[in-house]
Amino acid sequence: MNELLLIVSIAGSRVALPAAAVESVVELEALIPVPRAPIHVAGLSALRSRVLTVIDCRRSLELGATVLDDGSLQEAAVVELDGHHYALTVDVVEDVVEALSEPAPIRAAMGDGWERVSKGMVETEEGPLLLVDIPAIIAGPATEARAA
């Protein structure tokens, strides 16, 4: 059985998230900002009496910012990492597909942000997609800078 992937688009690009890691897809309600938190932490939101830490994927990828407070509905993928729940903001959630290959390294040059969160390229029926490393996108650019 091949791994299932959730196709989402972030900052205009179609990418894949490992579907097993995604608990649910939600529309974010009111956001409570976290002052002094890293810039890619958009704030906190409540989901069924749980606190979600909302990660702005555009900011995490250093590809601009997601507009979160204009009243429009914002879709997000809920994932769990080390016991904490995160909501990853995405432009749109498309579909679930089967991976047709193991992730393979991408040898072409990617943008900085994408390079950091890439787990490689997977083949799907929809064509090749970038597989996103969820811990890396949650960690955001700041950790990368420290590690370097």
Partner: protein, 780 residues
């Protein structure tokens, strides 16, 4: 088979734990048959099971111990110290083996002949050394397992967090129901559900509770081993083992408690010889007790050892550069003692193997404060030391205060809050010194940070409109945090926040408020750090500034209340002593006017128009003009306000002075002077008795002088009493101890010493009586 072994291990562990205290009790009283029996039962059980499981080494060992104990039981042998130590060593070895079986390693290889030989009559020595290293090890292993329920702790935590979620879901439902149109049936059902959930939360919280006994059972053994090592004799008195505490909390206080007890035995209690010389019993007493007080647990550790000499602490602290000598000289006694909690201060002359492990009382304090607790210390040189650990019942539910900046809410743990003051209040001034905020609160200067600045949030409020929260973070000193608004006290179920959020250092966790929105809980120490407040530069009473409290005539604090007749009235706060509630039958007309009985005193009562209409409880202000008291009956207190506008004077003199606007509405201002003048009349008698302070230790004063002073109408108190005295009598040349001494009279033993007006020869009876009388006369 594996199941049977697991049961055997669990059973042995339970018995081992229970045995910890028994053995020591047995040693103290070897003839105690009940203790002997229970120890015998343990080795017997082990022996029986070993045969079944084929653990020959364990069997030989327990068999040898059983034989020795059986001899004691049969009276063939008297249990002496050597035998007790040998049995202890055997039990420790059994504990080790059981731990090893539990870990799946089976019984390790080894030689027990030394232990078995030590059990023989007349044997001595070697068993002791064998026992010691094993002892601590076994004790710590044994006590880390729960006692009665075998339940996966993980499962328990999951249930707990499920219930917490349920509480939050209920809160959200409650909010939705409030918004929806009323439906009695739904409300009723919800109420019931709500009640059940609350009950369940209580119950599940209790399942996480453990008796603090788990922590205490290991103590007698630990103290016994320490004593053997140090050549001291200590009797441990344990009380309150049935107090229950959160399982996690027990683990958190295990180390601090152990450390304090080690300290007490090592540095506190003296050797038997020293104790005898000091006139104490040879055996030191160490009492450890626990009790619950509200949602806190108090654990008290008291010893009757040599106590802590505050002056030595100060010297050490100065020598180690912890504080400046100049600051040190101004410290109060309790502040001096508190120095023991500073890093780098220890009174022990030499570092010993027991407590000098580089872990000081500073670590104890910070560990306790990290879990929201407090350590208090009191010590009398020569008499002993008493420490109290105050810890909250649970870790997960934190009482907090919600505040806001702009539109965003935050929570601050209650335990760190010292007081809350308004920035524009009369006793508070805010200043900027080199850009840094300094708040002066009743003469005390504390660093001030605006929460809006720390967080980088926009706030329309200026500094003067804000409210200051005086915070004392764990292990640090106070600072004031300016917030826009204060909301509510809430009990919050706090969960750790995501690492990226925790990394800011500002927050201790997140939670959901009753309205279902997430709230961040602040870490007060982190806030200070980010806000640039240096917590390590301790403000120890040093920086108090003598700022005269500004007397602003525009701001007279008044108590706004509703009188019995329903009128809005105000009384100047200064004359209100306190509020009391009395039964209506305590108010009755007597000796020509209405009077109220308040405790021992009978006071004239004002504010009542129709005494016959009183019933039930009546609330009464106790007004005080310094010497006399009267009562003033009222219906309810509205608020504490200040007079904003001019007072329009009343046309006729009477109980009402005038009318003014308070809180936007007119209120009558009660004329306190008129009340006193009217109700006291001329026949007033002082309610307060004159007080004279005499030195306690002076036999002459107590035996010869005291009757004369008492005959003159004084209440005689000693040096330690808190009352302020009208007259203080001391011997010539002695200093006056208390600040509240009133008039001071010095008595000379020799007529030639007499100098000045307040100095009298002590057998100059006429002069003495005159002086005593005149002191009282001046006060009337």
């Amino acid at each position: 088979m594996d199941d049977l072994i697991a049961d055997f291990v669990a059973e042995c562990r339970e018995m081992l734990e229970a045995l910890g205290g028994e053995i020591v009790a047995w040693e103290a009283n070897p003839d105690d048959r009940a203790r002997l029996d229970s120890i015998f039962r343990f080795v017997h059980t082990v022996k029986g099971n070993c045969g079944f499981f084929d653990f020959p080494r364990l069997e030989t060992l327990s068999h040898a111990a059983e034989d020795a104990l059986a001899d004691c039981r049969a009276g063939r042998r008297h249990p002496d110290g050597a035998l007790v130590s040998a049995v202890l060593a055997v039990i420790d070895r059994i504990g080790e083996m059981i731990a090893s079986i539990d870990a799946g390693d089976g019984v390790p290889e080894g030689d027990d002949s030394a232990l078995i030989d030590a059990l023989a009559p007349g044997a001595e020595g070697p068993a002791q050394q064998v026992a010691m290293p094993a002892a601590v090890d076994a004790a710590s292993k044994a006590s880390s397992t729960p006692r009665t329920i075998r339940l996966s702790v993980e499962l328990l935590d999951r249930v707990m967090s499920g219930v917490s979620d349920m509480v939050l879901a209920r809160n959200e439902l409650a909010r939705r129901l409030r918004e929806a149109p009323d439906d009695v049936a739904v409300d009723g059902a919800f109420e019931r559900l709500s009640g059940i959930i609350a009950e369940m939360r209580d119950a599940i919280t209790r399942t996480r509770m453990q008796r603090i006994e788990n922590l205490f059972v290991a103590l007698p053994r630990m103290v016994r081993d320490l004593c053997t090592e140090l050549g001291k004799q200590v009797l441990v008195d344990i009380d309150g083992g049935d107090v229950e505490l959160d399982r996690e909390m027990i683990e958190m206080i295990r180390d601090p408690l152990t450390h304090i007890i080690r300290n007490a035995v090592d540095h506190g209690i003296e050797t038997p010889a020293e104790r005898l010389k000091a006139g104490k019993r040879e055996i030191g007493l160490l009492s450890v007790s626990a009790r619950q007080s509200g949602n806190q647990i108090l654990i008290e550790i008291a010893d009757d050892g040599k106590g802590i000499e505050a002056s030595k602490l100060v010297e050490k602290a100065v020598a180690n550069g912890v504080i400046e000598r100049e600051v040190a000289s101004r410290l109060s006694r309790s502040e001096q003692l508190a120095l023991i909690f500073e890093a780098g201060v220890s009174t022990a002359k030499e570092v010993t193997a027991i407590s000098g492990r580089g872990v000081g009382m500073d670590v104890v304090r910070s560990n306790v404060e990290r879990i929201g607790g407090l350590v208090e210390l009191d010590s009398t040189p020569g008499k002993g030391t008493r420490m109290v650990l105050r810890v909250p019942l649970t870790l997960t539910i934190i009482p907090a205060l919600t505040v806001s900046i702009g539109s965003q809410h935050f929570a601050i743990p209650r335990s760190a809050i010292e007081e809350i003051v308004r920035a524009n209040g009369g006793s508070v001034t805010l200043e900027r010194i080199g850009g840094a905020g300094v708040a002066t609160i009743r003469g005390r200067r504390v660093p001030e940070v605006a929460l809006a600045d720390v967080l980088g949030l926009p706030s329309a409020m200026n500094d003067q409109e804000r409210t200051l929260i005086v915070l004392r973070p764990a292990g640090g000193d106070v600072y004031a945090l300016a917030v826009d608004r204060i909301h509510d006290h809430e009990e919050l179920v706090v969960k750790p926040a995501a690492p990226a959020v925790m990394a800011t250092g500002l927050y201790a966790g997140t939670t959901l408020a009753d309205d279902g929105s997430p709230i961040l809980l602040f870490d007060p120490a982190g806030l200070a750090q980010v806000g640039g407040v240096r917590l390590e530069t301790l403000e120890r009473g040093g920086h108090t500034a003598d700022v005269p409290v500004a007397v602003n005539s525009n701001e007279i604090p008044v108590l706004l209340f509703r009188g019995l007749d329903g009128a809005r009235r105000a009384l100047r706060l200064g004359v209100v002593d306190r509020i009391e509630e009395v039964a209506a039958d305590a108010i009755r007309p007597s000796a020509g006017r209405l009077r109220v009985q308040l405790g021992e005193a009978i006071l004239p009562l004002a504010g009542v128009e129709r005494p016959d209409e009183l019933d039930g409880k009546v609330r009464v202000f106790r007004l005080n003009d310094g010497t006399h008291e009267i009562g003033y009956a009222f219906r309810e207190v509205i608020d504490l306000m200040s007079i904003e506008r001019d007072v329009i004077p009343a046309d006729v003199p009477g109980a009402i002075n005038g009318v003014t606007l308070i809180g936007g509405e007119p209120a009558e201002l009660v004329d306190a002077h008129w009340l006193f003048a009217e109700h006291l009349g001329t026949a007033a008698r002082p309610q307060t008795q004159l007080v004279c302070r005499l030195p306690e230790g002076d036999a002459w004063m107590q035996n010869m002088l005291r009757p004369i002073v008492e005959a003159a109408g004084y209440l005689v108190i000693g040096d330690g009493d808190e009352l302020s005295a009208d007259l203080t009598i001391v011997s010539h040349g002695e200093p006056v101890q208390s600040a509240q001494s009133g008039r001071v009279l010095r008595l000379a033993t020799d007529p030639d010493q007499v100098n000045g007006q307040d100095s009298i020869y002590r057998y100059d009876r006429t002069g003495l009586l005159l002086a005593i009388k005149s002191a009282s006369g001046g006060n009337r």
